[in-house]
Symmetry: C2
Subunit: 453 residues, 2 copies
């Protein structure tokens, strides 16, 4: 009886392969790879340094190349596609789903792209070209065209006999689509309903009113939301005239949901969500340098602000020593609010109707936390330096900056969203600038006023 | 023909409700709420401040309460459950899936919990108690028990006649499970195969060998990985003896995948992934204070290190002004590596077999980026302060800290994982401490050696 109990099973297999590869046992590796499912092969490639990847790819059975390409992360796939000849590519794509072929072709240079298309048979080429006519990240781009359509005026018995004649259904078929003579989508009939209905019942009586058709132009993130909202397993895709084009199945949607959720985390660190963990060193260095450059400007900005208080800093070294404390705490607090709001925006929790309530709440949370940590830090500094004025100054700066952090954490992502800039990407840099500047001004500025000569 | 084109459709509906609520038009609100699906009602509650929530909950049709509870975020649900009487709760849970009832009951205080269970009929109570006997985040905790089982020795025709007699299948049934007389799981037969097979074919010939049974104790995150890996729509759940207990459907798995991916992002900011965006102010303040406290200790640690260099700081104010630059850049670079590794761990890309290769790569990336930004910052400082020694010192410190950031970004999450501590939660605090300390030591330490009196 097949049963899964060992969580590290696949990790172990990957290690075996790596070890065999390390000792140059290529025949053995080839044998090991033959038994692995495409998903594990993709994982293995993604988990290997670029040099090993090329070797592994050649050791993987050519019959599996198509399936593995389907599963691979975008950046890793691009790297592998570069090494393949066009004829080879055309051959590999033969068994692949239309949406996946389109995705592969999109990653190719124009000349290779045409060459691959030309070597397909005309029916396949037509289907792939249709898929390519939709934007990559839309319902049309992720749909498959292997739908089963039926007419509304036939009976259950007729459909069942037709299916038995057909002998096999497209992978993961859970429903059929009812269309008219012009291919307009009328409704969806669940396979489960078909088998429980009486043979003489008409198909039109079994249509599930809850299933809506999705326009081919709908962005894939919204398609994913619909699947989540209505617990769909699959959904029909139509053109602007309501003509059935294909269907989207939940397994593709699962990938979109994971990518979307990862996107926020990766963007907040200035990384691409398709970033290759084992990218070549020069490529990684280059990819990271933009973000580091932006952050350097922010950091220099904070230095310029500190420089405005050169006088007081030269008079009291303790101010220089304590100067990082308030900006640092403001940054952490602001980042908490920012993260909460970014998730809220992604889930649709935060919009115009409740932005004010959220701002008020986070301002209050920031103020209250400001009071707590202002008192604590005042106590620490007071005891350490026996200087009540200094304790008061840092407490005041802390309270100011924590409150500012709450306000900035809500307003910055909302403003960025209105300007159509990704809040996850730009939010944290801008927030840090605000909390640095407010923190330094509040601390050193107050100090200049109260204890400067 | 139903078709969706407006992405802001549901956001608009939510706004309508809010406006009507604001002007006290409760009857109108009740009517608006009646037309919304459970998912949207849950979204509306999650998007409302706590006070509004209580009002909204009372305006939602009692018949929908169960469905909405199923969809709600954990923390929001707990808040609402607190306001409900036990008899009411027992009534509401009647139409719910067993796994969802178990989840609701887990959130209740013991006395209420027993009261709700006692008011169920004995069959329901038995099923819920079984679900409760499994850990919350395991296959047993998320499965449903409404499976359809068949015997291996019957023919397709017999099964089809049985289904027609039954008249209705459990929601989202895409396959049947073949069991022996002792309920041991033998295999799975796809509905799609059943309808295309000849009536006289035996069920045993249709069993899909690719579908594996999942042990009820398997953690839900691993269940989700299996669904992703094999593109399952549903999977059978068995006990240690291989007896069929229930099934898991992909719609529950989608929620797990989203939660898991969100978990990393939220943890990195010290937030719970089930955090309620509109939690009461005092509750939010309290939840955030732990994280802020930990970060205060980190920040004070950096102050203590700076304090060790009081002498040189009092001699040269410019050092105090530039002191934040190196730690700040190191923190950003280290955080990039950390985020990449945390995602790699979550996806299973990073393990013992390739940790060394990754460390080498990130060290090289850190060093190269260190060279770039060291040269740049040396040029800026050199031009600004006309001081080549100072420029050299800050360049050296930058190179050191960026390299250290690369090493720390890989080793910290891997060490935390080995110690069974969540790298997403603890990683960034520890990393920042390292980059702060290394940055300050490298900058002020070198300055003390080279230009201190």
């Amino acid at each position: 009886m097949p049963e899964i109990s060992d969580q590290d099973y696949s990790q172990l297999r990957l290690q075996q392969v790596n070890e065999a590869l390390g000792s140059g046992m290529f025949v053995h590796v080839r044998k090991l790879l033959q038994d692995l499912p495409a998903y594990d092969l993709a994982l293995l490639l993604e988990s290997s340094p670029t040099k090993t990847r090329t070797v592994l790819w050649q050791l993987i059975d050519t019959d599996h190349h198509g399936d593995v390409l389907e599963e691979l992360n975008e950046e890793v796939r691009k790297g592998i596609l570069k090494t393949m000849r066009p004829e080879k590519l055309a051959e590999v794509t033969e068994g692949m789903d239309v949406d996946d072929i389109a995705e592969v072709l999109r990653a190719l240079p124009d000349s290779v792209y045409r060459q691959v298309l030309n070597s397909m048979d005309s029916q396949d080429r037509g289907r792939v070209e249709q898929a390519l006519s939709y934007e990559e990240d839309t319902a049309g781009g992720i749909m498959n065209t292997d739908t089963i359509t039926i007419r509304a005026d036939v009976t259950v018995d007729v459909v069942l006999r037709y299916l038995r004649l057909k002998g096999e259904l497209p992978e993961s078929t859970d429903s059929f689509y009812v269309v008219d003579r012009q291919d307009h989508f009328i409704g969806s009939v669940a396979l489960a309903k078909l088998v429980t209905a009486k043979p003489e019942v008409g198909i039109s009586a079994l249509i599930d009113e809850d299933i809506q058709a999705v326009n081919a132009k709908l962005p894939e993130t919204e398609v994913a939301q619909l699947f989540e909202r209505y617990d769909w397993f699959s959904a029909p895709v139509v053109d602007d005239d309501g003509r059935l084009l294909g269907r989207i199945t939940v397994d593709d949607v699962v990938d979109i949901i994971r990518e979307e959720a990862e996107h926020s985390m990766m963007s907040m660190a200035g990384l691409d969500d398709e970033a290759d963990t084992f990218a070549p060193i020069l490529k990684s260095t280059q990819q990271r340098s933009v973000w580091l450059g932006v952050n350097l400007i922010t950091a220099i900005f904070a230095v310029v602000v500190s420089n405005m208080f050169e006088d007081i800093l030269s008079q009291l070294t303790i101010l220089a020593i304590l100067n990082t404390l308030v900006p640092s705490m403001g940054g952490v607090a602001g980042n908490q609010t920012l993260t909460l709001v970014i998730r809220g925006l992604a889930l649709g929790h935060v919009g115009d109707s409740n932005a004010k309530a959220l701002l008020y709440k986070e301002l209050a949370v920031g103020f209250l936390n400001g009071v707590i940590w202002a008192l604590l830090i005042a106590a620490v500094v007071g005891v350490w330096k026996q200087d009540m004025t200094l304790a008061g100054i840092i407490a005041f700066a802390m309270l100011m900056n924590m409150t500012a952090a709450g306000i900035a954490g809500v307003t910055i992502p909302l403003m960025l969203k209105r300007m159509k800039i990704d809040p996850a990407l730009a939010g944290s840099v801008i927030l840090t600038t605000v909390t640095d500047v407010v923190g330094i001004f509040a601390f050193l500025g107050t100090a200049t006023l109260l204890i400067g000569y």
